[in-house]
Symmetry: C2
Subunit: 295 residues, 2 copies
């Protein structure tokens, strides 16, 4: 693949996102060589066995050495320290990106470690499953999903353009926006729903007089959808909430106000208020379905 | 179908549940004649056109007249008044049941209207979709889903047994329990998840600086699962919350305590606490998956 847009791509982290990127790059023929790094030897072996990378390196510096594109596929909390470690080995002109669900905190952690002449373009593919690990990836994960890029104000437009084309080749639709705006959008559409799902599954486990076995048995009545979300990777989500604190706390506050008002309507047996709110959410759902059928 | 277990079954209400029951009864050959009643002439016409009933009656009394089994497939809030209206036309020995998502309130509303010699056996099939109306039903809706019956303490065991067999013939698994216990189980596994889903979809609509269009566009990041639940029938759910107030308020209180504690952990950047909670919910999810694969 001498004509591939990237000579060498380095994947740092080979979990669900890293392994899916490997598969998607192979499918697209977008990299002549994919080097993979992960902390555990077992993961490296699995990556080689499955074949979504061309080489693996126990040494992170070696993995990124000579790479045109370095993709950090690790929990949000360690991106900064990884940038610090790989900085000396980054090639001039290389693009460094990440896949973290929060962007302002990652920029704050990473930007200062990126050497002059290397382009840092933060990114967030909005795709995932409740599974994790190197065997959970698949080439189609990003197909028709959104990937949001949050280029730095003084970043190189050509590097951004190259990354847009990269994600499109991996199947995604791409939008660019500021990191601040991204973090609020993600807080509403993803972080709050996950927090609520984690919470409600925990609550169910706590109710007196009802055995956990009963909750599990009758989960199909609405609860099951929450458990799917709540099974997502705990480390990843811990880091998301620690690093998108302000936006999450802001939408949580609004959520609590709204829930307080619904609770009051139940307490006061205010059927009109309940109906009105339920009717309104149904309308939003319809818009989402219309949007999907237009894509 | 002279040998069908029921000579005549009357469906009062021909929405998602009523129409699905019609289809399921036809599939099972469980009734020689299915009579349907609904308030709107359009619904009656649709029911006849689709063919999940054998006859339709504008007059409710006529629909239940001579029926061995009368099934109220209407919102929880109007079950009592319907029992009052049909009482004079109920056949001696008939079974009257309902499909409401709350049970204690329905018993309080209905029991006093049921004539002596008629058996009232409350029920709750835990099945549904986000669609409603007579054209939304299908025979498989109850297959392998739970139907919870809450027989009255002084009820006729034979009537209960006959209703258990009816639901099994419609594809469901059946359990019996007290109405009080049912209402707490349903509050956790179904009512609270729905309330939260309605609420979070409304919250997303309120956040300043983020257009509704953006929430819709990026919904796949977790939010989408909530919108599906939040699209359920507003009238049905209004009635559920008005009639299962105590149990819902109780689990809501616990939910709020838990959410308060997660919020505090985010505010204090307490990663261990977040990780611990997320790990715990993942474990519950695993148990649900195990339970499903054992069925």
């Amino acid at each position: 693949m001498a004509d591939a847009p990237f000579e060498k791509v380095a994947l740092i982290g080979l979990g669900l996102i890293g392994s899916s990127l490997g598969h998607a790059m192979k499918r697209a023929g977008i990299a002549s060589h994919i080097a993979g790094h992960a902390r555990s030897k077992e993961t490296l072996q699995t990556a080689i066995d499955i074949g979504f990378v061309d080489s693996v390196c126990e040494d992170m510096g070696k993995a990124v050495s000579g790479a045109d594109l370095v993709i950090l596929c690790v929990p949000v909390g360690i991106c900064g320290s990884i940038c610090e470690q790989i900085a000396p080995d980054l090639k001039q002109g290389a693009i460094v990106t990440d896949v973290g669900s929060v962007k302002a905190a990652i920029i704050a952690d990473c930007e200062r470690h990126i050497p002059a002449g290397v382009h840092f373009v933060p990114g967030h593919p909005m795709a995932g499953t409740e599974f994790s690990g190197p065997a959970s990836g698949f080439a189609e994960l990003f197909d028709s999903r959104w990937c949001l890029l949050t280029p730095l104000p003084d970043g190189d437009p050509l590097a951004t353009q190259k990354l847009i084309e990269f994600w499109q080749a991996c199947g995604a639709n791409v939008e660019t926006m500021t990191a601040q705006h991204h973090d609020v959008v993600a807080a509403i559409t993803s972080h709050l729903p996950h927090l609520i799902a984690f919470n409600i599954v925990g609550t169910a486990d706590d109710i007196e007089g009802v055995a956990e076995q009963e909750v599990i048995k009758y989960a199909a009545g609405g609860f099951r959808d929450f458990t799917r979300i709540a099974a997502s990777d705990p480390t990843m989500w811990r880091d998301v909430f620690l690093h998108n604190k302000d936006a999450v706390l802001e939408v949580l506050e609004r959520f609590n106000e709204d829930l307080g008002s619904l609770t009051k309507a139940i307490k006061q047996s205010d059927g009109d208020k309940l109906f009105e709110q339920f009717e309104r959410t149904r309308h939003i759902r319809q818009n989402i379905l219309d949007d999907e059928s237009n894509q």
